[in-house]
Amino acid sequence: MNAVSQPSSLQASAQAFLARYEGLKDRMRGDTHLRAAGADSFARHGLPGPREEAWRYTSLRPLADIAFQEPLVMMTDCDAQLAAFADLDAPRLVFVDGRFRSDLSVVPAAARVRTGLPGYGRLANNDEKLVALNSMLAEDGATIDVDAGVDAGTVLLISLGSDAHGHPVSFHPRHDIRLGRGAKLTLIEINAGEGVYFNNPVLTAAVSDDAELIHLRRQQEAPGAFHLSTVFAEVGARATYDSFSLSLGGRLARVQVHARLAGEKAIAHLNAAQLLGGNQHTDFTTIVRHDAPATASRQTVKNVLTGKSRCVFQGKIEVDRIAQKTDGYQMNQTLLLSRDAEIDSKPQLEIYADDVKCSHGATVGELDAEQLFYLRSRGVPVEDARNMLVRAFLSEALDPITHDAAREGMEAAIAAWWAGRPS
């Protein structure tokens, strides 16, 4: 689809991003060819529109109605926001409004880290329109290299959006993670903020043979924020990309994960929990490609909806002709706590090999009245009983998280969300 046939607000918004690029391109750091390629693609295709299959359920019109500018002011006081993550004791790379803040960061010793310019990597695809936008406007990001055989422990990647500008801003961080053969890393990504802003990160992860990347994402952006992120992971032979994505915040949020199982016996876990209420719109979209034999993918996606929220899960599994003995599993379950909320769940399987095991399922339900009464009959107040059952519903997605502090932090964030949930 070309830009001409798009709704005018999306088109106008795309033009504004292009104008920003034209004004800034001569003084932006990073690879000018890659940036120009992104700009070229974005100029031709613009923002994703409602007539595209992958964007049928998620409209960017609310985003297009807002003029986002370049962040100029450096937000100075981040202590209060960072204090919320103090229980995660690990080296941290902190970005404020998309810019690296060395004064707030503690660089890890066991990995090589470069910041100050976009980590373009080689895995991202500008055919994804939001990736093209990111390529065009990326100013900063983290490139993290873990050498072969090294266990780099845990690294936090924190993004804070601010309302220090007096007008909405957008930022487009570009991160690249590279694990050498047999290397290990747990990356805990946190996105939070205040005010109205648009966070458009792209993260690429190259996981070499026998390596293991655990990627835990906690999205608790400000209620007025837009979060549109894209992840590309490529997983080598016997390597693992183990990810969990928690979505709590934002007015409009979408996480799109492309995982390519490139080597024999590669494994990908794309688990997620989306909790939303009020008028929130949250989307988790996955594209898993089994491109080698005996690869396995697991997706357990749980949604909890209140208010008039709208939730999307799209899960595509593609099995290449050579990917025999593929083991694919996808489960999407939704708890509807309000009659006005809506879930669109779309599994998509494209299988070209003949000896594979692929299963998928989706369920939608309310809290079980029998379970609720059982808890209450034991003395548990109704609100606590509901909380316990919601937590229990999420357990299949949360319990596999082996990093205790990260899981506990997410559980606390979920409990806080539940206590103050938008009705």
């Binding site: 009464f373 003395g379 059952l389």
Partner: protein, 249 residues
Amino acid sequence: MLEIKGLRADVAEKEILKGIDLVVPTGEVHAIMGPNGSGKSTLSYVLSGRDGYEVTGGSATFEGHDLLDMEPEERAAAGVFLAFQYPVELPGVGNANFLRTALNAQRRARGESELDAVQFLKLARAEIKRLSMADDMLKRNVNVGFSGGEKKRNEVLQMAILRPKLAILDETDSGLDIDALKIVADGVNALRGPAFSALVITHYQRLLDHIVPDRVHVLADGRIIRSGGPELAHELEANGYAAVVAEAA
């Protein structure tokens, strides 16, 4: 003391309880026996506050408080415990967490101090040992993958830990083999004393060989048609419900 007067209740606009009068004095164990469909389970659910049961008349008070005006959790905190005929599975909820949450919620409601994890585990392990149950009972998810017998034993474990003043056992004996039946009975008998009452609802007399009641009441078509001592259970077993129902009619 539990005092029920003229209690009437509908399920789906059909009258199931048609005026029940029953007094269970403190320290006594009473049995309610009756044929299927007589309203036994409805009585237990009405007393514990389950949704879907509409009380249309009469009253039920416990220690002078109007039970029917209380939320299910308030009844629990006041000391009323329902042992379910079909205990509910709670996938994703650990048994230990469930029991401790319930105990502490009740203690909080009564203005008592809560137990920390260590204090709770000590208490729970002691009860598990006393009831000859497997240690892993606490680690498993509530009733998930439990056999019928294990589920009923878990009800008794909850009762032992929560220490109610009034236990309502809704056909706790159904589906139990004789060993499980004895464990359940021992669990109830261990709680017997001057401050504990129980309403044992059962179809069969055999449970009452192990939990010997002070009084037996026969429930038929939503009314108590006859009351007597423990020997009434034997009479029912020997002659069947039909004879007693016909005699009362």
